[in-house]
Structures are given as structure tokens and as C-alpha cells.
């Protein structure tokens, strides 16, 4: 039925500043930048995956009441909007070092997790972006199974 996910939206306060950050700093490419007069349609994508885009949109009237838009903009700055994207990389530590050198605000240093190495950053508005270098999950061992079996209530 569905063939994929093409675009998802991330709320930003200022599209030009968002473009500077996502493209100029993170290395995304502009997929579409269309000034429609009443709005600016701005999407960006990772160069290696051009058909998977992020729509950078400003919550504002008349799309929604101004009070609602103001609440959403506040929520972004509170870090309450959920993860904007989980990006994949083949070298999390090198990516971290390169972006760190550009002054990106990291909220988690590269950390080994059961599924790989990942780190996290904020965009200028407060959106949470993660970078993951996927690896095979740690295997469950017989020791683990024995331990869980022993602890299971009778």
C-alpha cells in the first residue's frame, strides 16, 4: 500500500536561520525552496538520501491561531517537541568531532549503546536531533537466560 516516507515536518522559528544550520552546518542539501508568497516551502535532505526530506516550517497564523503557534514555538524552546530526526552515519565519533568544531550544541557525547554508537545535538531552536552509527545488537547469552529464569516468580 504505502511505498515509503518522503517528508516529515520540523517546527522552526526562522527558516533562514534553519537553512543556515541544517545546510550550512549539518551538511544537508536544499531539496526545495519555494516562496509561495503566503508561505515559504522549504525542504532539506541528507545528500545520500535525497528522497527523504525534512520540511522546515514556522508554526504561525493563518495555518493555526496565533496563540497556538506561540505555544508551539515555546514548546520547541523547551525541548518538548520530540526527536526531529535520528540520522545515521558510518562514523559517529568523527561526525561528532567535525560538528563540535563548528560550534554545534551537543547534548550527548558519542556513547556506546546496545544498538550502536550515538550522540545527540540541538538545533538553534531547541529541536533534538540524534546521530547513530548502527551496529549489531549485543547478543543475549545463555547466562542472561539462566539469570532471568532464576529470577522469574514461581
Amino acid at each position: 500500500m504505502f511505498t515509503g516516507i518522503s517528508i516529515h515536518s520540523v517546527y522552526v522559528h526562522d527558516q533562514q536561520q534553519a537553512l543556515d544550520f541544517y545546510v550550512g552546518t549539518l551538511g544537508f542539501e536544499v531539496s526545495a525552496d519555494v516562496d509561495m508568497g503566503f508561505m515559504r516551502w522549504l525542504t532539506v535532505a541528507v545528500p545520500a538520501q535525497p528522497d527523504r526530506q525534512i520540511l522546515l516550517e514556522v508554526p504561525a497564523a493563518p495555518m493555526m491561531p496565533e496563540a497556538t503557534a506561540a505555544t508551539l514555538r515555546e514548546l520547541v524552546t523547551q525541548g518538548a517537541m520530540g526527536v526531529a530526526a535520528i540520522l545515521t552515519t558510518d562514523d559517529c565519533r568523527a561526525t561528532y568531532a567535525a560538528l563540535r568544531a563548528k560550534g554545534v550544541e551537543f547534548i550527548e557525547e558519542p556513547t556506546e549503546q546496545p544498538y550502536g554508537i550515538d550522540c545527540a545535538l540541538r538545533d538553534p531552536f531547541g529541536n533534538h536531533i540524534r546521530i547513530t552509527q548502527p551496529m549489531a545488537m549485543t547478543e543475549v547469552t545463555q547466562d542472561d537466560l539462566d539469570r532471568w529464569a532464576a529470577a522469574r516468580p514461581q
Binding site: H13, D14, Q17, A70, R73, E74, T77, Q78, G79, V83, I86, E105, F106, I107, E108, E109, T111, Q113, P114, Y115, D118, A120, R122, F125, G126, H128, R130, T132, M137, T138, V140, D144, R147, W148, A150, A151
Partner: protein
Amino acid sequence: MFTSTEEENRRLLRARDALDRDFAQPLDVPAVAALAYMSPAHFIRRFSRLFGEPPHRYLQRRRIERACAMLRDTRVTVTEVCFAVGFNSLGTFSRTFTAIIGRSPSQYRQDAVPQPVPGCFTRAWSRPSSFG
């Protein structure tokens, strides 16, 4: 670009991010408050208003949540977990852990099952919600 409220939110979020990132370090309220460009007393008030609890309590939950992950997903000892998440006494760690989780660290480990989803989600959703 930001209203004054948004700008203050962003500063407080930056300070909270520092607690999330540097949870293993000793808490230095004046240093964290400085990230938000606030005096310590004002910082504690504004942080509590925005995030629903004081920074010290947020940090303790963050540390215990990390301890849970280490107990669940790694094979290091309880004592090593205690120091790795920022406590400097096993007694304080065990007391805080038990107060928040309702079980001792070793009992928690006995009951644990590894969770195959991204850590940021289990972290956010499994963070203990109170001191019991």
C-alpha cells in the same frame, strides 16, 4: 527571533541538557545556573516552573535512570555503576536508588530484561517519576 519567554526557555533547556550530559560529574548549581545566565536561586525557581521539579531532583532521576540502564544492559558491578553515574558513596546510591525505584540495585538487575529500542526513548520513558 525569540520572544523573551522563548529565550529564557532556551537558556533553561541548555542548562537541563548540561545535567543530562554531565550527570556523572558532581552537581555545581552555580555553574549550571551560569549556563542559563541566572543566579542560583532564580535558576532553581525558573527551572522548577518550566520542568516541574528542581534541578537537583532532575539530576538524581537522570543518574538513577542511567544506573538502571547499566544494571540492565552491562555486566559491571553495582559499585562500579554507583561511581559511574555520579555518586561517591555506595550507601547514598543504594538509598536513593531504592527510594526512587522501590527495589535495590541488585534486585533491579535480577529482574531486568534488555530493551532493543533506541536508548533515548527508554531513557525518557523509563525515567523514574518520583521519589516514591
